[in-house]
Symmetry: C2
Subunit: 312 residues, 2 copies
Amino acid sequence: MTAPILVFGHKNPDNDAISAAVGYAYLKNELARANGEDAVYEACRLGGFPPETAKALEEHGIEAPRLIESVGEGDKVILVDHNEALQSADGIENAEIVEIVDHHRLGGLVTAQPLRVNVMPVGSSAAVVAREFEIQGVELPKNIAALLLGAMLTDTVIMKSPTTTDFDRAIIAKTAEYVGVDPVEYGMEIFKCRSNPAELPIHKMVNADAKEFELSNGNKVYIGQFETVDLQAVLNREDEIRAAIKELVAEKGYQFVLFFATDILAEGSQFIVEGDTDFVNRAFGIDVTGKSVWMPGVLSRKKQVAAPILAL
Amino acid sequence: MTAPILVFGHKNPDNDAISAAVGYAYLKNELARANGEDAVYEACRLGGFPPETAKALEEHGIEAPRLIESVGEGDKVILVDHNEALQSADGIENAEIVEIVDHHRLGGLVTAQPLRVNVMPVGSSAAVVAREFEIQGVELPKNIAALLLGAMLTDTVIMKSPTTTDFDRAIIAKTAEYVGVDPVEYGMEIFKCRSNPAELPIHKMVNADAKEFELSNGNKVYIGQFETVDLQAVLNREDEIRAAIKELVAEKGYQFVLFFATDILAEGSQFIVEGDTDFVNRAFGIDVTGKSVWMPGVLSRKKQVAAPILAL
């Protein structure tokens, strides 16, 4: 038996990273079977489950992806929802990347061989995966459809994020109809089952959906987002958050750590920054040194937070 | 009127680089029109026409793409048949890359924003473009189909190159039937109209289809291929070739320049190398120092020449 090809999303996985991996591994296994190929694809994850993902997998009777920490020589892998080595499994430089399915900017990956790369500038990787079912003519099972729909809705903050395109709205509407739910109600139910920010251990809040980026000067920064329906409960813990991200700056040598709590109802985010706050001030024309700042309309890390920082 | 979005292939364009740009610009213009969008797409090129491309454009009444040398701030561009800054227009770091359509390895490009990336590990970019017509449901005009078919055949050396996949064979068969030609005969006709290697100025032979690559040590190398049905005529000029590539090593500071003449009938290539020949010897287990070496079965720069060098 051949070793399975590992399909996984980024470190600190969010709902989209895990759901897109599950959906794409299913699609690839169906295609391999249809074409009489030996290959087997296994959905994996590089970290713990977000609460909404754990709930959805259980509810829909989908096998939970295996936790892996590193990959190595001889491993074949498919990256979903990321394309940067920094955000991928440890040892990724020794594995063979055979495919990428993503919706982020290109992050400088170099491969020795040509590979399939399918990146779209849309709201979620789950939407790119759902489109592939259509293009390849593979039937999308109802439970996988429900999982992908959830990821399309969390990653676009129920279509409120500026990353949401007409393509997203169309495929969300189509998938919701197929699953038999109202997309906005379905999305609100998912957000409600997220962790209570008053009780969550602080390192979980800070790291739950955080990614490393490399600036053009070669320094690393860490940008974490926490989406909530109860912003005040997060802000009540600003001192704890500040201490935790200050520790990250010291320990990991980040130029800065930017943590932002996104209020999905008020449609904006509160920025809390430690380290080189001047850099962040310049990127956004704000003063976030020693105090937190409310950024109305900011919902997307990718488009509204990481992009201005990486463009500086 | 909005500025056109520039669609172009790599420097030293081959038939695939120009044909895929023409085909993709046509497709994007049709899609923009269908969606009532303002955007206009213009096929361009970063160098002279290969003889077979000039002939095909004239024969099929297709407007010749405009020559551009550099791009800059404010330009929006679509890269076809390449994804590496080194192989792209000068000033590419200042332009906004909005899409990539390609069939090469990933070469380390970094963008600030998400974009559409459509790379397939197949024999030609023209085949990726032809597939997009199908997926998008846009009618492929006969003259564009003939141009793309020619590029599919030159880039796969009439399906003899090991880069040729089942996908290529299927789309070549389908496109040839649509155009109303036999693919192998059509391909042979195209190769016959290539330049006579006995008469071609030596710098044209050496640079006609050559690309820069960056080794993991940061040094640059230059790998040029010349496909011919008359290998002896090329080898009669080995001294001239050697002098020309030696000059390139000195002028541009390449770690080495590898020129190889591919005999598409005998299905192999003759390697001629100047500069750090030891590196090439190690990569292929050969001795090419001071003499040329016949490599049976080597037809593909990407898969059989660049890949072993970049993997070292």
